[in-house]
C-alpha cells in the first residue's frame, strides 16, 4: 500500500529515452515521475518506491513488458500498483494478453497527450479510492473485534453471577432462567437460603445495556446477598441496597428490583417491589393474581428513600412467577408486544407442578411469538412452586457453639446424635452427618484462623418434615471449602492423591451444599433429605 503522498508518483519504464522524455514532459509537474530504461531497473524502483501508477513499454530487450507485469503482480508488495501498457503493439490479441496479465489499461503509441493525461488521472484516482477503502476496512475489522471482546466479557460477567443449580426440596421447587439479548443487558435473578427457615428469591433489571450495565448488575447482586444475611425485612434490605447504589452512581444507572423472602415454616412471603413489573401468582384453585403493590421507585436513583413491604400467604399448589420486562415487551416483526395478558393466560393454561417446565413453556411461547424478530432485551423468568403446606416446625432447633479445638468435634457429634435421636433421624444418617462434621470442622480449625487465639464456630440444625438443614458459621478468613477440585476417584492406587477427598465425600453424602460469605462470617449450609 502506498503511503499518503502529497503528489502521486508515476514510474515510466521504456528502453527508448525519447519516449521517457515525452511522458515526463506531459506529466510533470502535476505528478512526480521516475523513469527506468529497462525492466530490471523498473522492478527495482517499483519495489523500493511503490509508485501509484506504472507506465510500461512492452518491447524491451532482456525482459519485456509482459514479464515485468507478471513479476509485479506476483509480488504482494507491488501487485496493487495499476499498470498501463504504452506500446505500439496494437493488435487485439496483444491487448487481450496485456489485460490478462493484470494490466489496468492500454495506450497506443504514438501517445496522444490528452488521452495519456486522462487515463493517468482516472487510474490514479481509482488507486487512491482503493487504498482508502482498504484502510477503512482494516479499521472496521479492528473495531468489530474490540466490540466483540467487550460483549464477551460482559456476557461472562453476567452469566457467571447467576446460580444454575436450583434446589429440589420437598416443600417447594424453584427454577430461574436468564437469556441475554445480543447486546449485554443487566438482568439478574437469584435464589438462596438466608437461613434454614428463610428462602430468598429475587429478580432485577438494570437500566442500560453493555458492560457498564453488567457491572452494575454484579454490584446489585452482591449487595442483595450481603444485605439479606442479617436482615429479614425486605423493606429494610431494599432501602439499604438503594442507598448504596445511589451513593456513587455517576452514570445515573438504576435497577428495578423485586425481592421476596419466603418463610418456609409459616408459608408467609414478605416482598418489596422497587419499580419492577408486578409478578403473578397462580393459586392452587387456578385463580391468577397480579401482585400489584409498589413499594418505591427504581433503586439507585435517589438516596435516603424508605421502601415499604407487603406480605402474602403461599400454600400448597401455589405458584409465584417473577419476570422482567424483556418478556412482556418482547416484540415480533409486526411490532406487537407479547404483553402481560399472554403471560397470565399461559400461567392459567399451564399444568404447574414443576418450576422448570413452567419456565421452559413460557420461554417457548415467547420465542414462537417473536418469530424472526431479534431479541432486544434480556429475558428473565423465576418460578417458585409450593409443593407442601408450610408447617410450623414442631421440633426443636439444634444449636451449639464450639471453639476451634479438634476435641470439640467429638462434643459436637455427641450433642448432635442426642438431638438426632430425639427428632428421629436414623442411625445411618447420623453417622453420615458425623462424618460431614468431622470433615468441615476439621477444615475450619486447620485453615480458618491464622492466629493462636480461641475462636467460635456456630453449628445449627433444623429438622424439617423431610429434610435436615444444617448451618455452620465461623468468623475465620474467607474460605469456601467447596471450591476444592474433585479428586480422581477412578485413579489407581499408585496414582491416588488424598487431596479434596473429604469435601468430595461431603458433597456426595449431602443433597445440597452451599457457601456464603457475609460481612465477616463464613456460612456453610447443608441439606440432607430424610
Amino acid at each position: 500500500m502506498s503511503e499518503l503522498r502529497q503528489q502521486a508518483m508515476i514510474l515510466a519504464v521504456d528502453d527508448t529515452p525519447e519516449n521517457l522524455d515525452v511522458v515526463k514532459g506531459l506529466l510533470v509537474p502535476e505528478y512526480q515521475v521516475r523513469v527506468a530504461p529497462n525492466g530490471q531497473i523498473g522492478l527495482k524502483i517499483a519495489r523500493a518506491q511503490r509508485p501509484d501508477l506504472i507506465l510500461l513499454d512492452i518491447m524491451m530487450p532482456e525482459i519485456d513488458g509482459y514479464e515485468v507485469c507478471r513479476q509485479l503482480k506476483a509480488d504482494p508488495d507491488t501487485a496493487d500498483i495499476p499498470v498501463i501498457f504504452l506500446t505500439a503493439k496494437g493488435e487485439t490479441e496483444d491487448q487481450a494478453a496485456g489485460f490478462e496479465l493484470g494490466a489496468a489499461d492500454y495506450i497506443l503509441k504514438p501517445i496522444n497527450p490528452t488521452l495519456l493525461r486522462a487515463r493517468v488521472k482516472t487510474h490514479i484516482a481509482l488507486k487512491s479510492s482503493l487504498d482508502q477503502l482498504k484502510r477503512t476496512g482494516e479499521e472496521l475489522a479492528k473495531a468489530k473485534a474490540k466490540m466483540e471482546d467487550e460483549l464477551n466479557v460482559g456476557q461472562r460477567i453476567q452469566l457467571s453471577m447467576l446460580p444454575t443449580v436450583a434446589p429440589r426440596l420437598d416443600d417447594f421447587n424453584v427454577f430461574a432462567t436468564m437469556r441475554a439479548a445480543r447486546q449485554v443487558g443487566g438482568d439478574l435473578y437469584d435464589y438462596f437460603f438466608i437461613d434454614p427457615k428463610r428462602y430468598c428469591v429475587c429478580v432485577a433489571d438494570v437500566s442500560d445495556k453493555g458492560v457498564p450495565a453488567s457491572l452494575f448488575m454484579a454490584v446489585t447482586k452482591t449487595l442483595i446477598r450481603a444485605s439479606t444475611s442479617d436482615d429479614h425485612s425486605t423493606a429494610s434490605i431494599v432501602t439499604r441496597i438503594n442507598n448504596e447504589l445511589a451513593r456513587d452512581n455517576e452514570a445515573s444507572m438504576f435497577v428495578t428490583i423485586f425481592l421476596a423472602i419466603y418463610d418456609i415454616h409459616s408459608g408467609c412471603l414478605t416482598y418489596t417491589n422497587a419499580g419492577h413489573n408486578p409478578p403473578f401468582i397462580k393459586r392452587a384453585d387456578g385463580a391468577i393474581e397480579s401482585v400489584n403493590d409498589l413499594h418505591g421507585p427504581v433503586a439507585g436513583a435517589v438516596e435516603e428513600l424508605a421502601y415499604k413491604e407487603s406480605q402474602l400467604q403461599l400454600r400448597a399448589g401455589d405458584t409465584l412467577l417473577l419476570y422482567t420486562d424483556g418478556v412482556s415487551e418482547a416484540m415480533n416483526s409486526d411490532d406487537e408486544l407479547f404483553g402481560e395478558q399472554r403471560i397470565s393466560s399461559l400461567l392459567q393454561r399451564a399444568d404447574v407442578g414443576d418450576a422448570e417446565s413452567l419456565c421452559s413453556e413460557l420461554l417457548a411461547e415467547v420465542d414462537s411469538f417473536a418469530g424472526d424478530a431479534e431479541q432486544s432485551d434480556d429475558i428473565t423468568l423465576l418460578a417458585l412452586v409450593v409443593d407442601k403446606d408450610a408447617q410450623v416446625s414442631q421440633t426443636e432447633v439444634f444449636e451449639i457453639e464450639l471453639v476451634n479445638q479438634f476435641s470439640e468435634i467429638d462434643r459436637l457429634n455427641d450433642a448432635f446424635n442426642e438431638y438426632a435421636d430425639r427428632v428421629e433421624i436414623d442411625m445411618a444418617t447420623q453417622l453420615k452427618i458425623n462424618m460431614v462434621f468431622d470433615e468441615l470442622i476439621n477444615n475450619i480449625i486447620s485453615y480458618g484462623f491464622n492466629d493462636q487465639r480461641e475462636h467460635k464456630i456456630m453449628v445449627r440444625a433444623d429438622r424439617g418434615t423431610d429434610e435436615l438443614i444444617i448451618q455452620i458459621e465461623d468468623g475465620g478468613i474467607p474460605f469456601n471449602p467447596f471450591l476444592r477440585e474433585t479428586p480422581d476417584v477412578g485413579a489407581s492406587l499408585e496414582e491416588r492423591d488424598i487431596g479434596g477427598l473429604g469435601i468430595h465425600l461431603v458433597k456426595e453424602v449431602m443433597d445440597s451444599v452451599s457457601y456464603q460469605r457475609n460481612h465477616h462470617l463464613n456460612r456453610v449450609m447443608l441439606v440432607k433429605n430424610l
Binding site: 479438634f406 462424618m435 468431622d438 491416588r496 488424598i498 465425600l505 453424602v509
Partner: protein
C-alpha cells in the same frame, strides 16, 4: 477407638472398634506403621465394629496400602457396614483396596 491385633493365616488382623476420624486417625496411623516396620506387611483391617471413617482415616488407609504394596504385601479390609461401604464407594476406595464381606473370605485368598 480401640485397636486389637492378632495373627491368622499369614495375615495380621487389625480390628478397629469405634470410629476413625480427625482425632483418632493418628492412633491408627501409629499402629499400622509400627506393624509394617516390624515386617508385618500382610494386613487385614477388620471393620466389623467400625462405625464410621472420615477422610482423615482414608488418608491413613491409602498411605498404608501404598507402603505394604511397596514391600510386596497388601492391605485388605473386611466387614464394612453400609455407611462405611458408601464412603468407600464414593471415594473410589472400593476399587483401589481389596474389600471383603468378612474375615473368612479375606483370609481364604
Amino acid at each position: 477407638m480401640n485397636i486389637t491385633t492378632s495373627e491368622e493365616n499369614n495375615h495380621t488382623i487389625v480390628s478397629i472398634d469405634g470410629k476413625v476420624d480427625t482425632n483418632t486417625s493418628p492412633d491408627l496411623e501409629r499402629t499400622l506403621s509400627g506393624l509394617i516396620e516390624a515386617g508385618q506387611v500382610n494386613l487385614l483391617a477388620d471393620f466389623e465394629n467400625l462405625s464410621f471413617i472420615s477422610s482423615a482415616g482414608l488418608r491413613v488407609l491409602l498411605a498404608t496400602a501404598k507402603k505394604t504394596k511397596a514391600q510386596s504385601g497388601s492391605l485388605k479390609v473386611c466387614a464394612l457396614n453400609p455407611t462405611v461401604k458408601e464412603v468407600f464407594d464414593i471415594s473410589g476406595f472400593s476399587t483401589i483396596l481389596s474389600v471383603f464381606p468378612d474375615r473368612t473370605s479375606a483370609l481364604g485368598n
